[in-house]
């Protein structure tokens, strides 16, 4: 139990750092919302190594910390929507047990973007944001594949945890 708490702390710290690193990567493709989703790497590891409950706690803690440190109340709202929808989708897919971590991460990436888009639609009271839907769908899929591959390789090497 003691080591579990320690590992959770380490993972939270890592996820937070990744959130920060993410803000340093200047990708401006003219469409907002396209990003790597590095923190999802840690969420995937925790989901596979520690459990569902831990993954949810990590997501919420990470978003609150990152939001207060680098973002605003707004970014917290959007990140929470994206993060929780994404995690729920990944958890469901993991339970179905028909997909590898790459497929799970793919869906996570897409759902993250969709969650944020839906919240943006509600906050702005407009359908206009669906304009971003196709491009965010594709970018979520591609970054999800990348993150899924890396997470898979990390899991292979982390069998001691």
């Amino acid at each position: 139990m003691k080591t579990k708490v320690a590992y959770f702390g380490v993972f939270t710290a890592l996820a937070l750092i990744f959130s920060y690193v993410e803000t340093l990567i200047p990708i401006h493709l003219g469409i907002p919302g396209i990003k790597l989703g590095l923190a999802n790497l840690i969420v995937l590891l925790v989901l596979f190594k520690m459990g569902t409950k831990e993954a949810y706690i990590l997501t919420v803690v990470r978003i609150l910390l990152a939001g207060f440190l680098f973002g605003s109340m707004f970014s917290i709202l959007y990140s929470l929507a994206g993060g929780l929808v994404s995690l729920t989708g990944m958890w469901l897919l993991k339970n179905i047990d028909k997909f590898s971590i790459v497929g799970i991460s793919m869906v996570g990436g897409v759902l993250h973007n969709i969650g944020q888009l839906v919240v943006a639609g509600f906050v702005l009271e407009t359908f206009g944001v669906i304009y971003y839907f196709p491009v965010l769908f594709v970018s979520g899929t591609l970054t999800g594949i990348l993150i899924g591959f890396i997470a898979g390789e990390m899991l292979k090497r982390l069998h001691k945890i």
Partner: protein
């Protein structure tokens, strides 16, 4: 990777492609107006053909030029809307989330977007 992953990948891309085609089809119609909304309420509708600088509630400034719209200034912290690409086609949108400003291109007489929204 499992076989199911590839099926999932194809499925996701198919949805995105469908969405894109649908959008391209709707977006192809003549673009004529720019509609600016703040917090869900219409702030103003302007013609794309008239070059103009519009100040929105002292928080954002958009520029209409050569039938394109660009967000040139905003007081929001993230500046995502300012970095956004210039828009010109029907249904294209620039959003400033912190200020709740939405700049949309809408059709002239028969606005497709209104038909969708209704």
């Amino acid at each position: 990777m499992r076989k199911n992953d590839f099926i999932l990948f194809a499925f996701l891309l198919l949805i995105a492609a469908t969405g894109y085609l649908l959008y391209a089809k709707l977006g192809n119609r003549e673009a004529g107006m720019v509609r600016v909304s703040v917090d869900g309420e219409v702030f103003g509708t302007y013609s794309l053909k008239e070059d103009k600088e519009i100040v929105i509630h002292d928080s954002n400034i958009i520029l209409i030029q050569d039938e394109c719209v660009d967000m040139i200034e905003a007081d929001c912290p993230d500046q995502i809307c300012v970095k956004h690409k210039i828009i010109s086609k029907n249904l294209e949108t620039i959003v400033c989330l912190p200020n709740k400003v939405v700049v949309e291109i809408v059709g002239g007489e028969n606005a497709v977007h209104d038909a969708l929204a209704n």
